[in-house]
């Protein structure tokens, strides 16, 4: 019998530990993360040094971007559905339960009330197409934003029995009068406290 040769060691790295680590990290990221919601408009928030985080509950976000276009969104889906129902009553538009449910999944929107049905019918990817949503009218002739704010406050009071907070998410390049307009509009309804959404700055 021939000599039994020592099998040659492969010059490779043991991948087992690396694999373990990779999957551990993967599990961590899947469990801790919340999916990023697609934004209707890209907003570049100004930076600030404040450390306070935006609250998660009882919050409505008013986005101002793209030279004065206003978008509105309520955080909690059940409050969102109730808001739509109240708006439907106000403008005498009937929304089907299916439409209400689909609206509950919409993070943010910015169309006049009469185009709302059409927007709800679109798929979520079509909805965020650039230039589709032209903002909610909020001038003195046709002040739908006020109605939305009113409806959202009533809806939150009814569903959660709490005060609704308002966050203003303005684009850094937005002109001050546009922001002022929205602040004035909220103040008319005795909302005097806002959260201004900002990004993080180094120091």
């Amino acid at each position: 019998m021939a000599k039994v040769k020592m099998s040659k060691k492969a010059t490779a790295v043991d991948m087992t530990a690396m694999c373990d680590v990779a999957f551990l990290l993967l599990t961590f990221f899947i469990l801790t993360a919340t999916a990023k919601q697609p934004e209707v408009v890209p907003v570049e928030t100004p930076a600030s040094t404040v450390q306070v985080k935006l609250p998660d509950t009882d919050l409505a976000v008013i986005t101002i971007a793209d030279s004065g276009k206003v978008y509105f969104g309520v955080k909690a889906p059940n409050v969102r559905e109730k808001t739509l129902q109240l708006i439907g009553e106000k403008y005498s538009i009937q929304f089907t339960p299916e439409e209400t449910k689909r609206f509950g999944l919409m993070e943010e929107f910015g169309v006049p009330v009469n185009q709302l049905k059409g927007l709800i019918a679109l798929s979520s990817s079509d909805r965020n197409a650039e230039g589709l949503q032209k903002g909610i009218p909020h001038d003195s002739l046709n002040d739908q934003l006020t109605e939305w704010v009113k409806a959202a406050r009533n809806a939150n009071a009814e569903v959660n029995e709490k005060q609704l907070n308002f966050a203003i998410k303005g684009d850094a390049k937005e002109q001050f009068p546009e922001i002022k307009k929205v602040i004035d509009l909220l103040q008319k309804q005795q909302v005097n406290k806002f959260n201004l959404v900002t990004g993080l700055r180094g120091e």
């Binding site: 019998m1 099998s7 060691k9 492969a10 490779a12 790295v13 043991d14 991948m15 087992t16 690396m18 694999c19 990779a22 999957f23 990290l25 993967l26 990221f29 899947i30 801790t32 993360a33 919340t34 999916a35 990023k36 100004p46 930076a47 600030s48 040094t49 404040v50 450390q51 306070v52 985080k53 935006l54 609250p55 998660d56 101002i64 966050a167 998410k169 303005g170 850094a172 390049k173 937005e174 002109q175 001050f176 009068p177 546009e178 922001i179 602040i183 004035d184 103040q187 008319k188 005795q190 005097n192 406290k193 806002f194 959260n195 201004l196 959404v197 900002t198 990004g199 993080l200 700055r201």
Partner: protein, 182 residues
């Protein structure tokens, strides 16, 4: 060894030396590749950090003001925000300012230094025997039509850094627009 050793080499019984058996190994390289690909995907699609929020309380907007509160002019610092990132500051009233008006920039060296200085100097100047700690500084923010939201947030941020308790966003008056040249 890029493989998982499943111990296939020790399988022979009876001590007979057979031809060398191939280990039934699993190559993990592809699996690691996949895992890292997924990690990258999840890291990029998720928002781990929640956005910050800055509290802003505005005074109640009552149409009829019953008693106007007059504030001492040596306590008020006026910040006038204009277009093109212009920023003017003066103390007291515009027709007879106690200091300024002077140009500032939104930088750490300019605006922050000014605010921090005034936070210290105003209580010193307003000290009386009744109130040995003095009166705190009041900042009035006057934003013109051409100023941007970023300018406003920058000023509010400096106010937060300087821990100024009393501040207000007020309407700009024509004289101040003139000062800005708008």
């Amino acid at each position: 060894m890029a493989q998982l050793d499943t111990g296939g080499g020790k399988a022979d019984k009876g001590g007979k030396v057979r031809s060398k058996k191939q280990n039934s190994n699993v190559d993990l390289t592809a699996m690691v590749d996949l895992a890292f690909l997924l990690i990258t995907f999840f890291m990029l699609t998720t928002s781990l950090s929640k956005p910050q929020s800055m509290d802003l309380a505005m005074p109640d907007k009552d149409e009829k003001i019953e008693n106007e509160i007059l504030i001492s002019e040596n306590r008020t610092m006026n910040l006038v925000l204009g277009g093109d990132n212009k920023l003017k500051m003066y103390m007291g009233q515009l027709d007879k300012p106690l200091e300024g008006p002077k140009d500032l920039t939104y930088s750490k060296e300019s605006l922050r230094k000014e605010v921090l200085e005034k936070v210290k100097s105003v209580p010193m100047a307003t000290r009386t025997t009744k109130k040995p700690e003095g009166e705190p500084l009041i900042i009035l923010i006057k934003a013109s039509k051409k100023s941007t939201y970023k300018n406003l947030v920058d000023v509010l941020d400096e106010i937060a850094i300087g821990k100024v308790q009393v501040y207000a966003i007020v309407d700009i008056v024509p004289q101040e627009l003139e000062l800005l040249g708008e």
